[in-house]
Amino acid sequence: MTLHVAEKVVIITEKIIAKGVCNIIESCGATGYTLFAAGGKGSRNNRSTAQRSSVVDDFANVQIEIIVNNYSMAEEIMEKVRQTYFKNYSGITYLEDIKILRPEKF
């Protein structure tokens, strides 16, 4: 089993802009992404996990993970998301090194 080095971009931000972030991801050419519901606390605010009834549900968090086998695409996604949204919406983004099986898939 040969593994290949690849990158995982992680974006944690408000659920309300999840769709917009996914559009950016696709426009950068990523082959896919995975979404998780999340709660959290950051510099701006407390966000509840989607457990209790939140009258304004769209302000919960979402974590989006994108695997790319190409460092510059990772950079591009992070940069675009940051520039488009992180002035007005809360959010952070970071990168992890991972090892994948089939580089042609990503």
Binding site: S53, D57, D58
Partner: protein, 333 residues
């Protein structure tokens, strides 16, 4: 004197009404750190059923209604939504330490209509057997949408001017669409259409109608818990938001009452309709407005406008404005 006495008496009765009881109960539970929580899925379902009930009922009765009568009240509803926003923006521009776009957003939210307050007043009307025109629920979007659109458009014009000082274009249709696609207006309009076009009497009588009161009681509990838990956010922003949120519902309701009074004398708009119009005006959007504003004016701080509406505006609208406008109608008509 009599009026004041009546109002205080009714306020007292109101405090015995389960609607307000659940709202206050929710606040107390949250204040005492109770772990009781109504699941989000239940909350969404309850809002859906409440709005469907209002919509279906309206739709079924509109069938035999003379819609020409609706023209002036609908026009007034629009005017009220627009004027509330303009007044709000003006007021906030006079207040110190208010970020411009936060003022726009808050004014927009108070111009829009609260589904929960509206459901609450419908129950009171029923309990008191105060009649009103069947199409009154259909006035909701006429007030709600113009208010949100205007606030977002003005905020964007302002923000673009700040940046560039040159030509500005805002996607008005996009904002209208966003409002209509929101879950609250979708449910209300779907209900209206189903009430108008199909024969939903049996499903209405066996399901939507009997659940209405109970679901409202739970929604009030949720709004109470939410009101309490948002107060902290409100504290962190300028205190003027709380002041505005306390007094403006009464002022907005009075404005609507005045226009409703005119409609009463010109086209025979019923006293019950005037009460409903006033409470709509007094209410501030808590379910569908915030997400629309969040995407429409992203740089506005949601803690300011949501806190103002949910923690102060809605409790004032339910606890004070509902009894106030009923008593006022009894005094005036």
């Amino acid at each position: 004197m009599d009026f004041l006495y009546d109002f205080l008496m009714r306020l007292l009765t109101q405090f015995q009404s389960p609607t307000l009881g659940f709202l206050i109960g929710g606040m107390l539970l949250a204040a005492m750190g109770s772990k009781l929580a109504i699941p989000d899925a239940i909350y969404k379902f309850i809002v859906f059923v409440l709005l469907m009930k209002i919509g279906i009922k309206g739709g079924m009765e509109i069938r035999d209604a003379n819609l020409a009568e609706m023209l002036l009240p609908a026009f007034f509803a629009m005017v009220i939504g627009v004027v509330i926003v303009l007044i709000g923006i003006f007021v906030f521009s006079l207040l110190p330490s208010i970020k411009k776009e936060d003022g726009y957003a808050t004014a927009g939210l108070f111009g829009a209509v609260s589904a929960s307050t509206f459901a609450a007043v419908m129950v009171v009307m029923e309990e008191e057997s105060i009649p009103y025109e069947a199409w009154v629920p259909a006035l909701y979007p006429f007030m709600d949408i113009p208010a949100l659109v205007l606030a977002i458009v003005l905020a964007n014009i302002y923000l673009k001017k700040q940046k560039e000082g040159n030509e500005t274009k805002v996607d008005v249709w996009g904002i209208v669409k966003d409002s209509l696609q929101g879950s609250a207006l979708s449910a209300l309009l779907l209900g209206l259409a189903l009430g108008l076009l199909t024969m939903p009497d049996r499903v209405f009588d066996s399901f939507y109608e009997p659940l209405f009161r109970g679901f409202l009681s739970i929604l009030m509990l949720i709004m109470g818990m939410e009101a309490y838990s948002r107060i902290n956010e409100l504290r962190r922003v300028a205190h003027w938001y709380a002041v505005y949120a306390f007094f403006s519902p009464i002022a907005h309701g009075l404005l609507a009452f005045g226009l409703g009074y005119i409609a009463h004398h010109t086209v025979g708009f019923s006293p019950g309709g005037v009460i409903l119009l006033s409470v709509m005006a007094a209410s501030s959007s808590d379910i569908s407005g915030p997400p629309t504003l969040r995407s429409g004016i992203p740089s506005a701080n949601p803690s300011a406008y949501i806190g103002a509406s949910t923690s102060v505006g809605t409790p004032v609208a339910i606890a004070i404005c509902i009894p106030l406008f009923i008593v006022l109608a009894q005094a005036v008509f």
